[in-house]
Amino acid sequence: MIKIENLSRNWKEFQIDQVNLQIKTGEYFVILGPSGSGKTLLLELIAGMWPTDSGEIYVDNKNITDTPLEKRGVGFVYQNYMLFPHKTVFENISFGLNMKKVDKKEVKIRVNEMMKLLNIDHLAHRLPRTLSGGEQQRTALARALIINPKVLLMDEPLSALDRKTRNDLIRQMKELHQKFDITMVHVTHNFDEALALADRIAIMKDGRISQVGNSTEIFRHPADKFVADFVGVENIFEGFAKKDGERLTIIDTGKVFIYSTEPKKGPVHMTVRPEDIILSSKKVETSARNVFKGKITEIIDNGALIKLTVDIGEPIMVFLTRQSFIEMELNIGKDVWTYFKATAVHTF
């Protein structure tokens, strides 16, 4: 387990401010944030690349705050790989074992095994500059994993790769995570990567952690507008909330009234996920609290999924499958009915 308590450090131009985090043993933990949010610096602080101003870092209940980085047992993978350019793939991967003075024969066996596992065994004698991005990243992963670190820290490991290579590596990293039973901390600005890999996600902004939770929690219940915007939540409206009966809250956006089951009062943000909204061309009987008639103002064809914007007073986004889109014969300007339950409305 990694435990971070009140970790702070001030660089003149940026600061990591009172970060608290607990990462469970064997967890795939993703730190998600926009560029400049301090996620790389946080990762480097955990690795011991900078001294801290205050706060403590524990790995498996051992305080490592002042342990030199070569003694922390923490692996590190950078976005631009940081392979040693004067060493071959084999020499790069064997580096950590040689530092530990592992027997030459054993080094050879273990490096060959690792290269096979990551499908880079044919590259053993190549220099890093002759490799593709994906091959370099696999080499960097192999180099870090071979010393069996307790924790593997990865800074934007997939950001420099093309989509296909990235998807391959996401699959492979899931396998590696299971096989090595290792705690992985992965920093990224890409929400899809986080969704694909993370057991839990921390959202970071301006050197602080704004929310920690699993992907559903963060996606469904963003802690604030920043998180909602950042993870790409659609349909965020501002309004004024007040109680309506025993269990309902009514939110006045100025243009429409929307029901929610979450008890809130005063100025709020609210969101409803596009996939929770039902669309029909005729009025139908339903148990949904929120029923609005509106005109289609925009149609975006995303292939399998069609994104519609419907003006119900506020522009609201609805997802449709291509099949239902064709069957309903929708086009811009057409009147439609939208329905969504009060439980689908999240306020923050």
Binding site: A47, M49, L69, R72, M82, I147, P149
Partner: protein, 263 residues
């Protein structure tokens, strides 16, 4: 043929004055020398002694510059600290002060009663008119080449690469020797040869601090003063040949020594 615009032609003409201004005198010196006399000088003990004294003392100065200059260069490349600008300026000062002034500065501290000379005389080191004096004069004038060139090399190595090496279990000093230094060795070597060549050429400071034993530049000066131009030419040709060979090696290293991260 590619058409050249007026500016390019004008600039090329202006530039070529400088180019030929430097090239022609050197070629002229080499051409005016009589090969027979040069060969004679090669067997002259005084000449060869002075030449080798210059080469050896310069080598000594370069080794000292490496031992102290490379660590300094690494600190300057990796750390920001209060007074860093001052340290950088001090290292570069010898490049801008007249070399005779350098000689006087050094004589003041290295004479047997000076702040360096006195304590060092207790362990048997004398500087005025002695080999250690020659080495000190050379070191003062040329050490900045090692520092500046090495620093440039260290700066080109990403510090994150060193940090990754350390997460893999390599201590900081070991990381310097197996990652940073091999990746910047070209800059260190180029800086050292520049330092060496500059040290061999040193005259002004040496003539004041240690006129004896005679180094090659001092010998040239003495022959010129005592016997005139013709007598000094052969030694000049030999000295410039040594310097040009060193310089040629530097140029070859810069252009041919492949770095690993570039094709």
């Amino acid at each position: 043929m590619r058409k050249l615009d007026h500016t390019t032609i004008f600039f090329a003409i202006m530039g070529s004055f400088l180019f030929f201004f430097i090239l022609i005198p050197i070629v002229n010196l080499m051409a005016s020398a009589n090969p027979g006399i040069i060969f004679e000088n090669l067997q002259n003990q005084e000449v060869m002694g002075a030449l080798f004294l210059s080469i050896y003392c310069a080598l000594g100065a370069t080794i000292i510059a490496l031992l102290c200059g490379v660590p300094l260069a690494y600190i300057l490349a990796r750390h920001d600290f209060w007074g860093k600008g001052f340290v950088e300026s001090v290292i570069d000062v010898p490049l801008v002060i007249p070399h005779t002034v350098t000689g006087i500065i050094l004589l003041l501290v290295f004479n047997p009663g000076g702040i360096f000379g006195q304590p060092l005389s207790h362990i048997g080191l004398t500087f005025s008119d002695a080999i250690p004096g020659i080495i000190m004069a050379m070191l003062f004038a040329s050490a900045s080449f090692v520092v500046n060139s090495s620093r440039e090399g260290f700066e080109s190595v990403d510090p994150r690469m060193e940090k990754v090496a350390r997460t893999l279990g390599s201590g900081s000093l070991k990381t310097f020797f197996i990652i940073t230094l091999p990746l910047s060795v070209r800059n260190v070597v180029v800086g050292s040869i520049m330092c060496w060549a500059r040290a061999i050429s040193e005259f002004g400071a040496i003539v004041i601090l240690a006129y004896y034993p005679t180094t090659a530049p001092v010998l040239i000066y003495r022959r010129f003063v005592d016997f005139g131009l013709q007598e000094s030419i052969p030694v000049a040709v030999l000295l410039i040949s040594v310097c040009l060979v060193l310089f040629l090696i530097v140029r070859l290293l810069i252009s041919r020594w492949k770095t690993y991260d570039k094709d």
